[in-house]
């Protein structure tokens, strides 16, 4: 995986250069938002299960997907869905801390769409759920931090569809 810092270092090293002004500017804004990111991660970590519960209630619980014939019907499949939501939230938090989406690509999205297709998990409903998670999380951490982590939830969605 990469983070905001290692990405800049690697791209400078390939050219054998010091970090130029634009890169240092990027780095500076990452450092400045460090407090915001760390505080948001703290809040999310303390409320993770509640965020997942609210997300599922908001986007999935009262739709056909939990009824017989739906892909969340049977407790086992419901539990698998909750677990995946848990993963999205945790990896979204990692990506926010890193300021870089590569950990999502490597450890979440790699092969996820194919897995979901083969299991019959509807991608549309998953994307709606991740969007709901973005809203629930934003309510909890505030608008500014919500925007930070929101881009990574959007990244998950675009990787799925």
């Amino acid at each position: 995986m990469q983070d905001a810092i290692t990405t800049l270092i690697n791209s400078s090293d390939v050219q054998g250069k010091y970090l130029d002004d634009a890169s240092l500017e990027n780095l500076q804004s990452y450092f400045r938002s460090g407090d915001l990111r760390a505080r948001a991660a703290m809040t999310i970590s303390a409320n993770a299960s509640m965020i997942v519960t609210k997300t599922v209630a908001k986007a999935l619980l009262y739709t056909d997907i939990t009824a017989p014939g739906g892909n969340m019907y049977t407790c086992r499949r419901y539990a698998a869905c909750v677990r995946d939501m848990d993963y999205f939230l945790r990896y979204g938090t990692y990506a926010m801390l890193a300021g870089d989406p590569s950990i999502l690509d490597e450890r979440v999205l790699n092969g996820l769409k194919e897995t979901y297709n083969s299991l019959g998990v509807p991608v549309g409903a998953t994307v709606r759920a991740v969007q709901a998670m973005k809203e629930v999380t934003t309510e909890m951490v505030g608008a500014e931090a919500g925007r930070e982590i929101g881009t990574f939830f959007d990244h998950i969605c675009s990787g799925l569809s």
């Binding site: 290692t6 460090g34 407090d35 760390a38 970590s45 801390l97």
Partner: protein, 176 residues
Amino acid sequence: MSIVKQVILNADEELRYPTPGELRTIRSFCKTGEERIRLARTLEEKAQAIVDRGTQKFWQVCPKTPSNSGDRRKTGAAKRDMGWYIRLISYCLLAGDDRPLREIGLVGMKELYTNIGIPLANILQYLRCLKAEAIALLDEAEAAAIIPYFDEIIQELALPGPPYYMNDGPGESEPV
């Protein structure tokens, strides 16, 4: 590798969120960010002078060396390499971690110089001269942040590496 990346990889290893302590580390790392950017800029400005002056000093101490043989290509390559080490140190200052130096510059360093036929003792001497010039050119606080990375390169060269030999009792000892 940076501190942030390290925290994330450790947390993911155990399927958990970063602990409050780890998040505190990230916070203080970010808080010192501007200072570290300033240090990296200072080092970049002085890199050329450190290399030039360090090279002169090295040639005084150790006149018989490939870079002082009159072959301008060799002189250029030696100064370029030393400049690169300083550049890697500037990466380390920004990342707050010695990983960039280690991964890009130290792994395989001895093998490389052995392969191209430069005595390791000379490289060691060269780096010691650069370190001395760096101390002279930087103020005390800057030196305190930067010099440990010079020391790391020097130690890499000065300390014995593999192959290790072990005493496995009577009989012929073999490298492990």
